[in-house]
């Protein structure tokens, strides 16, 4: 501790030679912002003044939503879709296709990216945090590559957890209900000398979707559905402030998930296990007119996937007798498609400097170095580890060029071996009509480096000795960056003395050269294979609206709506497939919470999605889902808590993503106990 304190004091001396007490207090000090959060521009700004569309889901909304899993909360963001690829494989997408592994959103936990390069997506069950550990979720709706780089191509989600100091001494929670759900989590807050910490754990299990899966065709036997979850996660957060100007945050975590995912109609479901651990250290030093932040994190995910596809004769028209004829020297054998020893790893080092040039101009700039590593014999076709090194240089300027006008300029320059150097700029302007009303406009030219998997994937089915049977998906050997041009206009208004807020966004987007897996020619039995290539284009235009009305502490209404019109087609050898149907034209959610009596809260959320075709799933009709919640606060001398009854989808059953995924009515009971 003393070493840290000494180091911090030394650096503080170098950066801030002027004593705080030398200058008198002025009116500027009294009216300065007291924001304690940073926003999607890396600058401390009130939501109203951010040059982008921001949704903040706070603890009140989280509780009122009755959500039991974190991705469900993102339904409260205009234009965001949350879907179930299987019982416990979640997908979240916004204004884009909805594949099994969506990858165009940056997702962070306390600023640490949790994107997994090996699967080009986020493993939501491996986040390591319970829903009760969340302080708030901040979502940038729209491309934010100019601030956070390639992963934030279509948006950025930052999940901010409750601070070590803010936590109650001990918090215990239990959730039980439908689909054999049994979730337990807890958090203990303590301190050792001047080091504050929380330790938390999370254990979840459920059996996934209920019922039987119907095979499409063929002589395959019906099999019992098994797409459940079993996860255990542990986490340590620490906080140390050696001096007035220095803060050191440390987060360590590890855990294990086991989910069952569908494979094919022969073998049904198989286990996929994720073993993860992560470390995140952040040092913030406040300067006289800004701050410096140095952070490092490391994520590692090992994937074990014991996929047994079945006998070759079961999977193809071949019979055991004809297998040697088709493949000389081979006999019929059980084929595997597993990601044994799969590895997904990321190292990230970043330095950021924020400062005020003068009262009119604030700047943040920084640089980052990132290493992504990917390994999987099944996905890559070899045992070598693919490693990509990436450099980032970024900056953001906020300029008050007139009393009610401010301009924002952002730039992210990235460099890697795949596509070389590329830049994502953004320019925005905000006009404050008066303290309650703000207009904004911005233009963004976002670029995204192709995912590692889409560049290096070469998945094949082989005999045990390596003889090729079927080429599944490969690559062309070359890749270009994806491009997104965005024009956005918005309005933010406060009415009724701030009780009512309204945020409207109109946007036009042009996406060019997106990666997709096209039809290709295979040198195998069926002569086909998919190939990753650039070339998918589409145009988006639409509107997003969010309204929040909270006249008093008894009522809360939050309405989110998105309209989107997509014009584009998936290139196809025979006939291009319209992708306009892959995103619902209308998507809305309405949350209402009411406290009829002290200690009681009734709340409900209606979600509505117009008809669409899930990219990796099926075509579904419009979906309307209603969730209800009754909560009773518990207060005793030494502890307080909350008892909740939750009903998910109280109306008709619906198909979630796939016609095998019948979402039925579900009921849960949740108990939260906090000891101070």
């Amino acid at each position: 501790m003393n070493v840290l304190r000494g180091l911090a004091q030394f650096v503080g001396f170098c950066w801030a030679p002027v004593c705080l007490a030398q200058e008198p207090i002025t009116e500027i000090d009294l009216y300065a912002d007291v924001d304690v959060i940073k926003t999607g521009t890396r600058l401390q700004q009130p939501v109203m003044q951010v040059p982008a569309s921001v949704t903040v889901i706070d603890q009140q909304m989280i509780a009122a939503s009755g959500a039991t899993q974190i991705p469900q909360l993102l339904r409260l963001v205009p234009g965001f879709l949350n879907y179930s690829v299987s019982g416990n494989q979640r997908g979240v997408s916004s204004r884009a296709l909805s594949p099994d592994f969506p990858g165009h959103l940056e997702v962070m936990v306390d600023g640490r990216s949790v994107y997994q390069p090996a699967l080009s997506t986020v493993i939501w069950t491996s986040l390591g945090i319970a829903i009760e550990d969340i302080d708030y979720i901040e979502v940038i709706r729209g491309s934010n590559t100019s601030t956070y780089g390639s992963n934030a191509f279509l948006g950025a989600i930052n999940i901010v957890t409750v601070d070590a100091l803010e936590s109650p001494k001990l918090s215990l929670r239990a959730l039980a209900g439908s689909i054999d759900t049994q979730d337990f989590s807890g958090r203990y807050a303590g301190s050792i000398e001047d080091f504050s910490y929380t330790v938390s754990f999370l254990a979840q299990s459920n059996s996934g979707f209920e019922g039987l899966s119907e095979p499409d065709s063929g002589p395959w036997p019906l099999h019992t559905r098994q797409d459940g979850l079993s996860t255990q996660q542990f986490r340590l957060q620490g906080l140390y402030t050696p001096t007035l100007s220095d803060e050191i945050d440390v987060t360590l975590g590890f855990g294990k998930d086991r989910i069952q995912v569908p494979e094919n109609d022969v073998r049904g479901y198989h286990n996929r296990q994720f073993d993860n651990h992560y470390q995140h250290v952040r040092w913030t030093h406040q300067l006289d007119n800004g701050d410096v932040e140095l952070s490092f994190y490391h994520n590692r995910l090992n994937i074990e996937d014991d996929t047994v596809l079945g006998l070759l004769s079961e999977l193809t028209p071949l019979t055991p007798a004809t297998v040697p004829l088709a493949f000389p020297g081979q006999v019929d054998e059980v084929l595997r498609g597993d990601i044994r020893d799969g590895l997904s790893e990321r190292y990230h080092l970043e330095l950021q400097h924020t400062f005020d040039v003068n009262q009119q101009l604030r700047l943040v700039w920084g640089s980052a170095f990132r290493v992504d590593r990917l390994g999987s014999r099944f996905l890559l076709g070899h045992d070598d580890i693919i490693q990509e090194e990436q450099y980032q240089l970024f900056g953001n300027a906020e300029w008050y060029f007139l009393p009610d006008w401010r301009a924002n300029f952002s730039l992210m320059v990235e460099k890697n071996a795949i596509v070389g150097t590329f830049a994502s700029p953004r320019a925005g302007i905000n006009y404050q009509i008066n303290p309650e009303h703000m207009l904004r406009a911005s233009i963004t030219a976002g670029k995204r480096t192709p995912s590692l998997l889409s560049v290096y994937q070469n998945t094949e089915i082989t005999f045990a000795d390596g003889t090729l049977i079927d080429q599944i998906i490969g690559n062309t050997g070359s890749a270009d960056e994806e491009k997104l041009n965005v024009l956005e206009m918005g309005y933010f208004g406060m009415f009724l003395e701030g009780d009512l807020t309204l945020d409207l966004k109109l946007f036009k987007e042009q996406l060019r050269d997106a990666r997709y897996d096209a039809e290709g020619v295979g040198i195998d039995l069926d002569g086909e294979r998919r190939v990753w290539r650039n070339g998918l284009d589409w145009d988006n235009q639409g509107a997003e609206l969010q309204v929040r009305y909270q006249p008093n502490d008894r009522w809360l209404l939050s309405w989110q709506y998105a309209y989107i019109d997509i014009d584009g087609a998936l290139p196809d050898a025979t006939s291009p497939k319209d992708i306009g149907t892959h995103v619902p034209k209308h998507n809305t959610s309405l949350l209402l919470a009411y406290r009829p009596l002290p200690g009681w809260e009734l709340s409900g959320v209606v979600y509505h999605t117009s008809e669409m075709e899930w990219t990796g799933g099926d075509e579904v009709d419009e979906i309307t889902r209603l969730d209800l919640r009754i909560a009773r606060e518990l207060r005793f001398i030494s502890w307080s808590g909350r008892l909740e009854f939750l009903a998910h989808n109280v109306e008709d059953d619906y198909f979630d993503y796939d016609e095998d995924n019948l979402f039925e009515r579900r009921f849960f009971v949740r108990l939260i106990i906090d000891f101070d």
Partner: protein, 332 residues
């Protein structure tokens, strides 16, 4: 009706601002703004609206300091009072002796004291001032309202405003309470020191300091407030929005209104320079309550209007303290 009247006043003030030439030769009052930023303009609007309501014979003109620095002739000499709005304007007026009668507004007490101290002698042109700080008695009264059982009030300071801490100590002691105060310096561990204060306080008062200091401790103050379940009284609406239970402050408009009223009286009564400078706390103030924080702390404090009414009922005391040789602090 009151709201309509207020808006009409503001509208009239705005109209007058737009119609007025840059500087009216022979204006009774010239307003010198530290900058063109919104808070200074709101003070100006408050002054104009108040004086317009009370007398249409007082002529007012205004200019910003930047305008004056570019063109020294922009300020006519034949004005009765130069009202400096903000620290920069006050500093320039006193240092450059640009007027014989200066009335300072929208400045902190410590800021004004520093400007006076930096002069070779006492600036005779300075006729009075309306400062931004809330009187300690008002803040302590609020603390007792939100927690009537409070016996110990906590705070931390950095040393930029030693007079303020002395003032709080005096008021707190005078009311039979105890002030748990700690000084935080650069080498201090803020969480360790604040934990100690929070552990032994019933209400925490944030005495505003330099913005950087305020910013450095705000997060820890607010987190520890929740952890120790001790309510925090902040000094701005932004502090409330960030997580304080309640804040007490004067808006620029309120400071302008107060300044306008005092100017009107000053102009009516002015026969000769007073024997001392009246450094006056703002008469009008606002409260902002964070209902979510109140709920999480299990407190029922009422809304802003109810609290102000209760404070008004309890008030009546007139404070007359003399912190300096030539200054008198008056709250009316």
């Amino acid at each position: 009706m009151r709201i309509i009247k207020t808006y009409m006043s503001r509208l009239m003030a705005l109209s007058l601002m737009l119609c007025a030439p840059l500087v009216l030769a022979g204006s009774d009052i010239v307003l010198l703004l530290s900058s063109d930023a919104l808070p200074y303009r709101e003070v100006e609007q408050g002054i104009r609206a108040t004086l317009f309501e009370r007398s249409d014979r007082i002529t007012i003109s205004s200019l910003t300091l930047d305008t004056l620095l570019k063109d020294e002739t922009a300020l006519s000499e034949d004005h009765r009072v130069l009202v400096t709005i903000g620290t920069r304007a006050t500093r320039y007026a006193l240092q450059e002796n640009i007027s014989k009668t200066v009335y300072s507004s929208f400045i902190t007490a410590s800021g004004l004291l520093r400007e006076i101290a930096s002069e070779k002698g006492f600036p005779e042109a300075l006729q009075g001032a309306v400062v931004l700080d809330q009187p300690a008695e008002r803040v302590v009264q609020l603390a007792k309202l939100i927690n009537p059982k409070a016996r110990k009030l906590g705070t931390v300071v950095n040393g930029s405003a030693p007079n303020r801490l002395d003032e709080f100590k005096r008021v707190v002691k005078g009311q039979g309470l105890q002030l748990m105060a700690a000084s935080l310096f650069e080498e201090s561990n803020p969480i360790a020191d604040l934990k100690h204060i929070f552990a032994s306080s019933d209400v925490f008062l944030v005495i505003p300091d330099k913005a950087r200091f305020n910013s450095k401790i705000a997060k820890w103050v607010l987190f520890l407030s929740y952890r120790h379940r001790v309510p925090v009284i902040g000094y701005s609406k932004k502090y409330t929005d960030a997580g304080a239970l309640i804040s007490i402050f004067s808006t620029p408009w309120q400071v302008g209104r107060d300044t306008g009223e005092r100017l009107q009286r000053y102009l009516a009564e002015q026969t000769q320079s007073p024997p001392f400078v009246r450094l006056q706390y703002p008469r009008y103030f606002s409260l902002s309550v964070n209902d979510k924080v109140a709920e999480s702390l299990g407190l029922k404090v009422g809304n802003e209007a109810q609290l102000k009414e209760r404070m008004r009922e309890q008030r009546g005391a007139r404070i007359k303290d003399g912190p300096g040789l030539v200054l008198e602090v008056v709250e009316q």
